[in-house]
């Protein structure tokens, strides 16, 4: 198809093109762009329930700079993302390599791997809450059965253990997603390459790092990008499992911002959201720069 013959289209065809794009564009404009714009505008305002809205320009952002709980939430969000995403990549890779093999019941096993991804996070978080239950949870039972400790462990009671409890629950849900994406990459590699490498005497690990990974690198980066963006805005799992506790140590930026919306401080809450938005944007740009997406399209 010729690239730039837009101007050659007849008036009638231009109208059709426009009308076909209109529903999608208007949905996105009305329910994504206008709210985002509103949040940006709000972040420059004092917007409290029962008080008249007032333009205060950068005062909210000044407050952010000295708000220790906010920086704690940003630190948690970044730490959570950059520990959980690589971990999920490793687990996802194991799943993907396995699913790419000619194992029996491959279709069924693929479906089973997909199930954690398909289950609503808020609902599985409730199951994790029961697993981590102090008195009779499954995790307690496993730890005692394995003889690791005989004392009751309060999994969600300390900042450190709650952090890892969240990472495990999050990985359960998202490693399958990474696996499915990587699997698509693996199955696109022709078997001929492997056969040739084996004839040349290449080992297991050599083949993996020197052949497999370089070929599917763009796909790995795409999976990492999706997961990182998703992890930076994590909300539902933490909301159900720890509520940001103990003592605000596991409050992600989304949880922290939500607390202000709940108490009616829309201006400051918007300011927190805008900050998260900017962080997400910058990190995405970094990914896209390293991967050089779009060159192939």
């Amino acid at each position: 198809m010729n690239k730039n013959n837009f101007y050659k289209l007849s008036y009638k065809e231009k109208k059709v093109l426009f009308l076909f794009l209109l529903p999608l564009l208007s949905f996105i404009f009305l329910f994504v762009f206008i709210p985002i714009l509103g949040t940006f505008i709000n972040s420059f305002h004092r917007d409290l329930t029962f008080l008249p809205k007032k333009f205060i320009f950068l005062d909210n952002f000044k407050r952010l700079l000295t708000d220790n709980s906010f920086w704690q939430s940003i630190r948690f969000t970044l730490l959570f993302t950059f520990i959980s995403v690589p971990l999920q990549l490793v687990i996802g890779f194991i799943f993907a390599i396995l699913l790419n093999k000619a194992i029996p019941f491959r279709g069924l096993i693929r479906s089973i791997v997909l199930i954690p991804w398909a289950v609503p996070a808020a609902i599985s978080a409730r199951a994790w809450e029961l697993i981590y239950n102090y008195n009779y949870g499954l995790a307690q039972y496993i730890i005692k059965s394995l003889g690791i400790t005989q004392n009751q462990v309060n999994f969600l009671g300390s900042a450190w253990s709650a952090f890892w409890a969240l990472i495990l629950a999050d990985s359960w849900k998202t490693a399958p997603f990474i696996a499915i994406i990587i699997l698509a990459g693996l199955s696109s590699i022709p078997q001929e390459i492997y056969r040739q490498a084996k004839i040349d005497g290449a080992g297991f690990i050599y083949i993996f790092f020197k052949i497999t990974v370089p070929i599917i690198k763009p796909i790995i980066i795409a999976a990492l990008l999706f997961r990182t963006i998703d992890s930076l805005r994590i909300f539902d799992l933490i909301y159900v499992l720890t509520h940001g506790g103990p003592g605000g140590s596991t409050a992600s930026a989304s949880i922290y911002g939500y607390q202000f919306f709940l108490s009616g401080e829309f201006g400051y809450g918007s300011c927190v959201s805008v900050f998260l938005f900017i962080i997400t944007f910058i990190i995405s740009i970094c990914y896209i720069k390293t991967a050089r997406f779009g060159e192939k399209i």
């Binding site: 329910f31 808020a122 307690q140 997603f177 698509a184 159900v240």
Partner: protein, 276 residues
């Protein structure tokens, strides 16, 4: 030991790890739901089989989970329909008409679904309450549609691209309008793609939490994830049995969909990623 034997053992242990990792929480959820007491793993306690938890879901009016499930199914179906419709129109336009900056436009549309939800939810709340939509299906179905449209648009674009334009030309010669071509020729030809787009938008809106939490103030209007997340029980004791029974009922439609349409889902999810 031979290399093939090592590979066999590695594969087998990876398989066990995968199955245990993926299924344990769900099996635990299920066992708790059919247990008389949720503390069956504590010392001196035993597992006693009972269907009481499921019975109370139906009989007890203080557990309105069936309402939440209906809300969720309705909102997700409306969203999925709107997504396949609006996404299909746009995908048709983008694959059939020559357009400047096409890939830029496509990346821009995909970028929409990458914004943090928290950065729009407060304004959506104000918007919906000024329209008087809070607690209605509209308040959730419209933002969900906007949110999942980029995905269904990408999936459908992938599929529509593969359909030869000769089909369109034949249709045009026969005097069909573009919209007739889309619904009578393209949609039936791209059925697996339509399916993928429908199922994925359904799952995404069924699972969404933050919008559903903020945009419903009345407990009867909640969706099932919010209903289950906020359920604490009347007497301080968390009724784990009922919650797990409700969870099992709530996740069974998505699990069924996953088992049956595994191929469509994988196609839909990976199409975009592989393309980038």
């Amino acid at each position: 030991m031979k290399e093939s034997k090592i590979i066999y053992i590695l594969t087998f242990s990876a398989l066990c790890f995968t199955l245990v990792f993926c299924l344990t929480p769900l099996i635990y959820m299920f066992i708790t739901s059919i247990s008389d007491n949720p503390d069956f793993l504590a010392e001196n306690k035993k597992f006693i089989f009972s269907l009481q938890n499921y019975k109370s879901l139906v009989l007890d009016d203080s557990l309105p989970f069936y309402k939440y499930i209906i809300n969720s199914l309705a909102i997700s179906s409306i969203t999925a329909l709107l997504c396949t419709f609006a996404g299909g129109l746009a995908a048709y336009a983008i694959t059939r008409f020559p357009l400047k900056h096409k890939s830029f436009l496509m990346i821009l549309i995909l970028a929409v679904s990458m914004f943090p939800q928290i950065s729009l939810v407060s304004c959506l709340f104000k918007m919906m309450s000024s329209l008087g939509c809070i607690n209605t299906y509209t308040a959730l179905a419209l933002p969900y549609t906007a949110w999942t449209l980029p995905l269904s648009f990408w999936i459908l674009t992938n599929y529509f691209e593969k359909i030869p334009q000769e089909l369109d030309k034949a249709g045009l010669i026969d005097g069909c309008s573009r919209i007739q071509i889309l619904f009578k020729i393209i949609y039936p030809t791209a059925k697996p793609g339509i399916f993928s787009a429908f199922i994925l938008s359904f799952i995404f809106s069924f699972n969404e939490f933050l919008f559903a939490l903020m945009l419903t103030t009345d407990s009867a209007a909640r969706t099932i994830p919010v209903g289950i997340a906020l359920f604490e029980g009347a007497h301080g004791q968390i009724p784990w049995g009922s919650i797990m029974a409700a969870s099992i009922i709530a996740v069974s439609p998505v699990i069924l969909i996953t088992l049956i349409f595994q191929k469509n889902i994988i196609h839909g999810l990976t199409g975009g990623a592989v393309k980038i």
